[in-house]
């Protein structure tokens, strides 16, 4: 058995740590690229959402490298994501690939027993005992938390750094080094090392950078390829960005949600504009927009794939927040046709707008 999994931002670090520690064979699909998307689009239904197509691309590229089992998470509330596995299995079977799918689903749908059975399937190739397996899982969770922390810190500090480009350099280096590790433990060490490094980045106290919150559909905000590396671009402009949705957030949310302890502040903030959980992460999107305003951000950018149902609802609501609070919000809809040039122009225009607003405020007082 050779396990693979779809990409989603930094998940592959945690997955690598987990499989290394378990001693199971795995294939990390090549980082998502134009090629993955092209393969994916070729085989998927035209109107299926972008994340689906990219994931198919990931699988196909992993299959080429010998993968035979796919790990995927199932339902995520009332959205298409929950139906992904069925379609993806059909699709890959039709193409003649005989893949095994391990679908991690909420225990409410498949029962706790079945969930444990499926989880057990992941480690069937492992010779370690239970305690070691548990440790491996723990380390993987640590890794995902750390890498997300490194990333968030680098992106936020980018606006304040005294030497332009330092944070980005550290971030890139960190990822390069971390992926070379062969165990969870060593990866954690590396990540901690780079976290320290970021903490020592010289800061220019006089700087008042533009701050932008990245909100929207979870996959497209997390997976950098799908949003045409927007965070990197903003980093280059010396803008601080913040994004709440990350793989580690998702994990925490998953664990806390059965007790209804998850995201109390988001629920509170979104209440006025969208009091319901409607599927996908629309409520998060609305709550984050309000939160970003209250935290003194200069603006927010909403990103979602074409045809994304919950985010279309958010898109209808965001202008109202923007108007009520005088808080600029721009929406970017991405699909496989998104052209880089037009996209960049829009981002630049938005940044210009935020800069002008900031100057006005400053000169007024």
């Amino acid at each position: 058995m050779k396990i693979t999994f779809p990409h989603m931002g930094n998940v592959y670090f945690a997955a690598k740590a987990l499989f290394d520690d378990l001693g199971v064979e795995y294939v990390i699909p090549p980082l998502t690229s134009k090629g993955s998307l092209e393969i994916g689009s070729l085989h998927s239904g035209e109107e299926i959402c972008l994340p689906f197509k990219i994931m198919i691309g990931n699988y196909m590229q992993a299959i080429e490298q010998g993968a035979d089992t796919v790990l995927i998470t199932g339902s995520c509330g009332p959205c298409r994501f929950g139906e992904y596995c069925e379609l993806q299995m059909n699709l890959l079977n039709n193409l003649g690939h005989n893949l095994d799918f391990i679908v991690i689903d909420s225990p409410g749908d498949i029962g706790v027993k079945e969930l444990i059975r499926r989880l057990g399937k992941i480690s069937t190739g492992s010779e370690y005992n239970r305690l070691q397996k548990f440790k491996a899982l723990l380390n993987a969770v640590k890794v995902v938390n750390l890498i997300d922390e490194v990333e968030a810190k680098a992106r936020y500090l980018a606006g304040f750094e005294a030497n332009r480009g330092q944070c980005k350099k550290i971030l890139i280096e960190c990822k390069q080094e971390a992926i070379k590790c062969n165990s969870g433990k060593s990866m954690i060490e590396i990540l901690n090392h780079y976290l320290d490094k970021l903490n020592q980045v010289p800061i220019d106290q006089r700087k008042e950078p533009i701050k932008i919150a990245i909100i929207g559909e979870i996959y497209t905000v997390i997976e950098p390829f799908s949003n045409l590396y927007i965070e990197d671009k903003l980093m280059d402009y010396g803008i601080s960005t913040k994004r709440m949705l990350t793989p580690s957030w998702w994990l925490k949310n998953l664990v806390l949600s059965p007790m209804n302890m998850n995201q109390l502040d988001i629920k509170k903030k979104s209440k006025e504009y969208l009091p319901m959980m409607i599927g996908g992460h629309a409520r998060e999107c609305i709550g984050e927009a309000v939160l970003a305003y209250e935290e003194g951000f200069d603006g927010a950018i909403q990103i979602f794939p074409m045809g994304c149902m919950p985010e279309i609802v958010s898109k209808a609501i965001l202008p109202k927040i923007s108007k009520d609070k005088d808080f600029p919000i721009m929406t970017l809809v991405v699909d496989e046709m998104t052209g880089e040039a037009g996209y960049v122009t829009r981002i630049e225009a938005f940044v210009d707008l935020l800069e002008r607003r900031k100057d006005n405020v400053l000169s007024r007082c």
Partner: protein
């Protein structure tokens, strides 16, 4: 007459605001989305509460244009049309019914756009009157009553009246029959898709009439019962979690495998996330059984649609002779 009214209903009504609410309340009901399906329920409920009903006209050009104007670009046509219906009556009523349907069957969901419909409309259309906001969980009558309790209060404070109105509404709804069943026509198709695409003749450009003109009968999902649906969907790895998906998948699967019809027409709208999945599942399931997928949006031309329907019917004729 007013005096008698006072005496009869007792003290609560000495409040002038209440009296106004009760006697003059105009409740608007937009004829979009699932209106056809739940028309008896909503009509009866609000009529029994004593409200005057303002129902929007059948979908027409003006409504479509209004919908396209107000609604977010990325939305699907049925949601845009719903916005148009609301816009067409909003200035005439005190309260607009925007059904936030969350669930029709246990452990199944419906489209996210339904769940956030009131917020979409309120944020997009300026100068809106009050709207209903309470979610509708229609999996059981007890749960549904929760909606009636909260929504009823927007019209009257008389609780027993709300209770009675609710009971009457549920009863009328139970007698509501929909669907086409031309199984005894020689050439017939299974017409599949969301109810609003099937029943809104403006939206689907008179599809049913067109088919009948060509001598083709229409069979819809309503004639197969729950048991068959359960059996058909048990073939899937995961049970579908949208009620729409379950209905359409089970219906097409049954119709094709039992040879009840000569072909399937699936009427859908562009940018419908649910259909994009269901159509894939259906195609995979029925193999090479004839299937015509019609996707509509505000730019769809009638001529092109006609040609495709005619070609499909020709093909069915050839196959059956």
């Amino acid at each position: 007459m007013f005096l008698a009214y006072f005496l009869q209903t007792g003290q609560e009504y000495f409040n002038v605001a209440n009296l106004y609410k009760e006697v003059f309340m105009k409740v608007g009901i937009p004829k979009g989305l699932l209106y056809e399906n739940y028309q008896p329920f909503f009509h009866t409920f609000f009529e029994e509460l004593g409200a005057e009903l303002i129902v929007s006209p059948d979908t027409n050009k003006d409504i479509l244009d209004k919908g396209v104007k107000y609604c977010v670009d990325e939305a699907c046509l049925p949601v845009k049309v719903f916005h148009g219906h609301v816009a067409s009556i909003k200035d005439k009523c005190d309260l607009i019914v925007i059904p936030r349907i969350m669930q029709l069957r246990k452990r199944e969901f419906i489209c996210p756009k339904f769940c956030g419909l009131p917020e979409m409309v309120i944020s997009s259309i300026p100068e809106m009157p009050d709207t209903t906001l309470e979610p509708i969980y229609a999996a059981s009558n007890e749960k549904l009553f929760q909606w009636a309790k909260v929504t009823g209060k927007q019209v009257t404070n008389n609780r027993s009246r709300i209770q009675k109105a609710f009971e009457a509404a549920v009863e009328n709804q139970a007698n509501h029959k929909m669907g086409f069943d031309d199984r005894d026509t020689k050439l017939k198709v299974a017409l599949s898709g969301h109810p609003y695409n099937i029943y809104d003749n403006y939206l689907n450009m008179n599809l049913i009439r067109k088919l009948k003109k060509l001598g083709v009968g229409v069979v819809t999902e309503e004639f197969i019962d729950d048991e068959i649906k359960d059996r058909e969907t048990s073939k899937l790895y995961k049970k579908p979690f949208w009620s729409f998906a379950r209905n359409n998948y089970a219906f097409t699967s049954h119709a094709a495998s039992k040879g009840i019809v000569n072909g399937i027409i699936y009427i859908s709208s562009f940018a419908c996330g649910i259909d994009s999945v269901v159509i894939d599942l259906v195609q995979h399931n029925i193999g090479d059984f004839p299937l015509l997928v019609l996707k509509i949006d505000e730019h769809t031309g009638e001529a092109g649609l006609d040609t495709r329907i005619e070609a499909f019917v020709d093909m069915l004729e050839r196959r059956s002779s």
